[in-house]
């Protein structure tokens, strides 16, 4: 992880301040108390803390985590909301767009009065309302190969909730370069896919999909349409995978992607290996 990681940013700041005070006072070095959840945290997160697989350590790991969500639309609405609700410490949201009425059937972070507002601001307001303990930061920009590295830097995980193949490949490249885990997702019509990626360890998006589709060959949601709950399912799966990667619980969909068809509930888990010579993750050629 890069030295400028924001992981535990505020805790490190507080520790540095406490250390400075100790030095000034000439106090004896005392062992650091282990961080613990407050009573308020225990109450808020009680239903996930009840899970045998979950623990205080997992919850604290979430609190220390910085996550970047690329997009503030149909996939990001469930993904960002679940991550904020679960107690991620810091959430960055990237989207250059403004809210439109046609977004509302499936983009539940936005409401009718938000029409015309920047999507990142509309989303951030709801997320902060949902969980005031989460630091939500907004980036009203279009992610491209010029800014992807800077946006990804300092995060412990990226969730790609964009609806553009260009963005997907740029996010994959930036995450692979920085070694930051990535949860990919996409939806159109009634179906979508989810893939978890640990760069340098497991297959990256480009290992699975080496080349972007030919222009015009895959319709966008604006062209083909999308059903709200389908996007809700995929975005929720992205949040689930993100929580698994951040806390080490469950089994993330790595070296594979889930292809989910919600028209008839035919779901397929497609195994993918790291591709030799992959330009995305730099896996050596055979």
């Amino acid at each position: 992880m890069s030295g400028s990681s924001r992981r535990g940013f505020f805790r490190e700041l507080a520790e540095a301040a406490a250390e400075a005070v100790r030095e000034v006072q000439g106090a004896r070095e005392e062992p650091e108390p282990q961080p613990q959840l407050s009573d308020a945290d225990m109450d808020r997160y009680s239903r996930q803390l009840l899970l045998p697989e979950w623990s205080e350590a997992a919850q604290l790991a979430l609190r220390e985590a910085s996550v970047l969500v690329v997009g503030a639309g149909a996939l990001a609405s469930p993904a960002a909301a679940y991550l904020a609700g679960a107690g991620v410490g810091r959430l960055g949201i990237v989207d250059s767009d403004v809210v439109e009425i046609s977004n509302l059937p499936r983009q539940h972070l936005h409401f009718t009065p938000d029409a015309g507002q920047p999507k990142v601001e509309s989303a951030a307001a709801k997320l902060r309302f949902l969980n005031p303990d989460v630091l939500v930061e907004t980036y009203q920009v279009w992610l491209d190969d010029g800014n992807a590295a800077a946006l990804v830097e300092g995060n412990d995980l990226v969730v790609d909730c964009s609806d553009s193949f260009d963005t997907r490949y740029n996010v994959n490249a930036a995450c692979c370069d920085a070694g930051v885990p990535l949860v990919e997702g996409g939806v159109v019509g009634w179906s979508g896919l989810v893939m978890a990626i640990r760069p340098g360890e497991t297959a990256c998006y480009r290992c699975a999909f080496p080349d972007p589709p030919a222009p015009g060959s895959v319709p966008t949601c604006a062209e083909a349409g999308v059903l709200g709950p389908a996007a809700g399912v995929i975005g929720s799966l992205q949040a689930l995978e993100a929580l698994k990667l951040l806390t080490g619980t469950g089994t993330p969909v790595v070296d594979a992607f889930l292809q989910v068809d919600l028209a008839d509930h035919a779901s397929v888990r497609v195994a993918v290996g790291r591709r030799p010579g992959c330009p995305g993750c730099g896996h050596p050629t055979l």
Partner: protein
């Protein structure tokens, strides 16, 4: 030395949540005496602790748990 945890002021499910977190903070083999409020908790806490694999004994309103 046995740790004690007073959960008499809590309502389910916070009774087991608080107990579970205390157990996570302990080493295997350590014992915890949980002072329970009467009623639901005296059923839920021992059952949940047993399901989690810990050794449990109930004495009145105290649930003694040996962390697995």
């Amino acid at each position: 030395m046995t740790r004690t945890l007073d959960i008499t002021g809590l309502r389910c499910p916070m009774t087991w949540v608080r107990t579970k977190l205390e157990l996570e903070r302990m080493a295997p083999g350590e014992a915890l005496d949980v002072q329970c409020p009467p009623g639901e908790a005296l059923e839920n806490v021992p059952r949940s602790a047993q399901e989690a694999g810990h050794e449990v004994r109930v004495e009145g309103t105290t649930v003694r748990i040996v962390r697995a």
